[in-house]
Subunit: 190 residues, 2 copies
DNA sequence: GATTCTCATTAAACTGGTTTAATAAAAAGT
DNA sequence: ACTTTTTATTAAACCAGTTTAATGAGAATC
């Protein structure tokens, strides 16, 4: 759990004993490609940390798959919207590659935050991080063209294009596969 | 500061003494229409709570004003992105109506979170709220048509249309004024 | 090795927006 | 009250995407 320890440390200073307390609740799990960690209508009470692998977070709106996010190595994730609000999810979490993750139940996460002021702070800073990520998403969706968003994704997460089919990336960018293909062509011929 | 007290209470249980501790740092301020609370290049070290009035949060991208949010009565706000990251802002916070707000400095916010575990938790839950708001924004930008977003805004924040010029609402929705006008016409003639 | 399935590209017709510019109406300033 | 400024609508030309359908190429299955 070195990677998980390191991740926690990257947010804020937590004492060794606090970190030990937190880590005891995590358990390592392996998920096969094609597994659903979550489906619509279900309550989600698990938080995940990816050690190795890739998971997509998407919804189906009027028959169209809408990819909200891809999670990869080093990401903490869950359907945070349903998790926080404690409502049935509208989303899928689908394992795109064989994945190794550390998992923890919400009730244990709450025990951790309850355990000390420092760990509660870790919780606040984690939420800040989640906010920042999401804010950048809003910024890009609102203020950048589809082409600009494609180019940025290519720059910032190039490995995604190696491991995820293009039609899912198109959906993530808010495009159809045809639309993305056109953009790629436009770029390559100039 | 009844409204501010109530707002804090709505997040989590905080003892009377903790609440007193927090409230001491807020001061009431009045801002005239047209005032900028923030401009690009500046560090923001203030958090605001609106008692009465309206403030827009926008950026200028390639010459175009891009409204990210409107804040009104009962909203906690700042340029949370620049505030968290402690980087110079890219944004404006412009007072759209004469506004009464309670303001607090970041260093005092940090004192508050430091003061007790319960207040730290209040901080975490506030961040969760900010995340949820922003998540819904991503959802709508990605998965709804412009027309659907317009209709929803009309339903959910009808008073905005009374107090904010339409071209700013267009920008908030990710449209030009001409585009919004067309959508309004399309809806009214069916 | 042949077949099937999945995925990316292309073409053609279409659509919901944009840009630019003109007009009208309302609000603000003198 | 008159003028100026701000805001919303409309029209016309345009464009970046969509939808549908066909084609091709690679990977998986038998």
């Amino acid at each position: 759990m070195k990677d998980l320890q390191q991740k926690i440390r990257s947010f804020t200073d937590v004492s060794d004993s606090d970190r030990e307390f937190a880590l005891q609740f995590y358990k390592k799990e392996i998920f096969k490609k094609g597994t659903y960690l979550l489906q619509p209508g279900v309550f989600i009470n698990t938080f995940y940390f990816i050690k190795k692998g890739c998971v997509s977070y998407y919804m189906i709106e009027e028959g169209n798959t809408q990819v909200m996010e891809f999670f990869t190595e080093g990401d903490f994730f869950t359907d945070l919207f349903a998790y926080i609000q404690e409502t049935p999810s509208d989303a899928y979490l689908e394992v795109l590659e064989d994945t190794i993750a550390y998992t923890i139940y919400k009730k244990d996460v709450e025990k951790i935050f309850e355990h000390s002021h420092q760990l509660e702070r870790f919780g606040r800073l984690s939420m800040q991080k989640a906010f920042i990520n999401n804010f950048q998403r809003v910024f890009q969706l609102k203020n950048l063209s589809n082409q600009e968003r494609y180019v940025r994704l290519l720059e910032r997460r190039p490995s995604l294009f190696q491991r995820v089919p293009q039609y899912l990336i198109a959906s993530y960018l808010g495009l159809t596969p045809v639309g993305l293909s056109k953009i790629r062509k436009r770029i390559s011929t100039k």
